[in-house]
Symmetry: C2
Amino acid sequence: MQTSETVVAELHRMLRADQVLTDAASLDAYAHDDAEWAPYERPLAVVLAEHEDDVSAVVRLAAASDVHIVPRGAGTGLSGGANAMARSIVLSLERMTRIVEVNVAERYVVAEAGVINDTLREAVAAHGLWYPPDPASYRISTIGGNVATNAGGICCVKYGVTRDYVLGLRVVLADGDVVDLGRRTAKGVTGYDLTALMVGSEGTLGIVTRVTLQLLPIGGREERAIVGSFGALREAGVAVAEITAAGIVPAALELIDRTCVEAVDAWQSLGLPHGVDTMLLAKVDEVGAVGDALAASVARIMADAGAVGVERAADAAEIDRLFLARRLAYPALERLGPVLTEDICVPRGAVPEMLSRIQATAAAHDVVIANIAHAGDGNLHPLIIAPEGDDAAKARAKLAFDRIVDDCRELGGTVTGEHGVGLLKLPGAAEELGPRVIALHAAIKHALDPLGTLNPGKAFPA
Amino acid sequence: MQTSETVVAELHRMLRADQVLTDAASLDAYAHDDAEWAPYERPLAVVLAEHEDDVSAVVRLAAASDVHIVPRGAGTGLSGGANAMARSIVLSLERMTRIVEVNVAERYVVAEAGVINDTLREAVAAHGLWYPPDPASYRISTIGGNVATNAGGICCVKYGVTRDYVLGLRVVLADGDVVDLGRRTAKGVTGYDLTALMVGSEGTLGIVTRVTLQLLPIGGREERAIVGSFGALREAGVAVAEITAAGIVPAALELIDRTCVEAVDAWQSLGLPHGVDTMLLAKVDEVGAVGDALAASVARIMADAGAVGVERAADAAEIDRLFLARRLAYPALERLGPVLTEDICVPRGAVPEMLSRIQATAAAHDVVIANIAHAGDGNLHPLIIAPEGDDAAKARAKLAFDRIVDDCRELGGTVTGEHGVGLLKLPGAAEELGPRVIALHAAIKHALDPLGTLNPGKAFPA
């Protein structure tokens, strides 16, 4: 085992000075992603890779030096997948921002891992193409990070998640070798689907340096928003179930609960009707009369379920206004204190039961829990808020977090819908996967990374 | 190593008499799938499993006896993935035909591997749900086989392939252990995507005994067919490119070439206009005025590209009539002699170039090659026909097959779009994947099946 000093000296030897950060402020800034609740340690160094050769060289050095690599995009992860560990190098791909190719005829884009989701969306939009996956972080998160966590978003209820758009990947393997996986054609079944295996593997099997993403035509959609205000959570739950039962696949179906509504209203008055408890925010995007009819159906279902108010909009500015409460929910809650973000996914029909259990958990553990939910997917984000510096509240928040995971499992859910296991969901994942499936994970990890160089201890429980 | 007699005796001891076939006729019938051109040998026995416990017991016996397991659905594969080898047991899942659950609220179905694709489609249709993937074999192939090969079909140009619908799998591993992979919720990212790794792995990593498939609402679609007849292949190629460029995602976009058209017309007169060389068969399925407008656009693009005739239909019987030539193409060609089916996938824009290279290859090797193409995906099925008993023609057909694979690679294509590597595409896959990616396959295979019990030698080149 080489000393830490030797490893850092070697990094300096092989890269430019501005690519290797070792000052305390940088080491602390890169020590964790947005999951500060998960454990982390100060890394030996932060490397800002600019080319896959940099990635490859650093991985080879780490493998030879018994040092760990923690790959990182923008650090917006919410499960601790990019949290640093002892004797680790944080390998950031944020400078790999080249859009290599936009192919209009074949409808794909090739981009380096550090390209921001929104930058990629704009680049392809200029060619009449659309990249749907829209995690809440899309303005700041990288496409490589989206791939590493298989990020979801609001429109995935209709348009699918990151994985559904990944055609191919360039990956630096644990021995530093660079491989191209997947394809650029519309279909292909040559060999195992190693591309899908890499998506969501949180940098534990390889480091994604370049992605090839399938795109849709940007046209052929006309967005309409339908927003219902409900006096009771269970009424909104009924509306969600009825929309699904009617065979409607909305382009968005979001729910925010009373705690969110109140936090938003207290911050920036929304002029909501009195007694509003829950808001259900839907979009449909079919064109013309079909879209009109679907929007009318969604509005009617909301009203029949007991909505005290239903608003509709078809132009972009009005849609933005109606969705304002959804956009403001997270920042409004962050004003109340540090937020521990849950990410369970239950069967759609279990959303009302799960939400009422969460309310009970909040009461039992004396913590504030607000709910933002991708209701159409059954993907709930209970946000547990502990006042700054209140260690007792923080301890209660962690108990509530575990309780929510248990309830989710009891209702047939999965412990992470779109944020990834990282470190935060290791105990829940252990329950969900069971020992035999965990052993499969370990066997694959060992087959691809026998020295345990790449982000060890993340993505699946030991 | 146990003797073959001991292994067969043990099978008879652990299963009912009618579950173990050892007569010569059965052994020959189950010795290969629909890829008779690929090598095969007579198996030791055929086992008709009725429960995953049967599968598990037979796998354990095989592992302990140094015998190979060749899993099999309906045997409709076209690459030899289910071809038997020396010292093998063909393990058929055709009797595992239970539809375990249709969940309307969550829109999924759980079915055993032996359920026929069409049976599953009808079962879920009765609940207002739709399972899109429609391989040509959908009336006779099993859903387990579809999963093992990641089967495509006609509608996947718009609706995706088998993989896009698989939420979870029950799998018997190489040591006989049974695991549940994946989930039943709409989203989920807990651990590696082992479900996707299993899909398309041709029974080399585990034996799929049960599948959980995501479904769509059956409603909300109105099919319209638009069929263009062209005097020249390149004109049809232009139409395909223009349809894509217009941002239209058709629900089907099939092409049949002159050899197909002539074979069909010679068999059952289609009353086609004189001089028709190529037919392009499209469907759109948007509702109402939007669908009408799209159908009109497709028809106009075909006419502008030089179609000598464009027919349109909106009712089911008329659509069937217009698609008749597509349905008859394969049987019409089989009348001319044994068919060696290719399955290349090239970039959409390369379809005309690839088709003209195939014509040149047919001339150069003096073989008849007809083309059926999922043109909207760039997925071509050149059908190479060698007269029965003509060994010289068969040898020339094999040379043509290899030439087509080389041309496909040169144009940026993949050697198998939807049929799988099996045995037939091992050389092409070796070229496409390269040694480092093949080594990844071998490492994963070894990690999950260290004794090489499950269908060794298939799916990827050694």
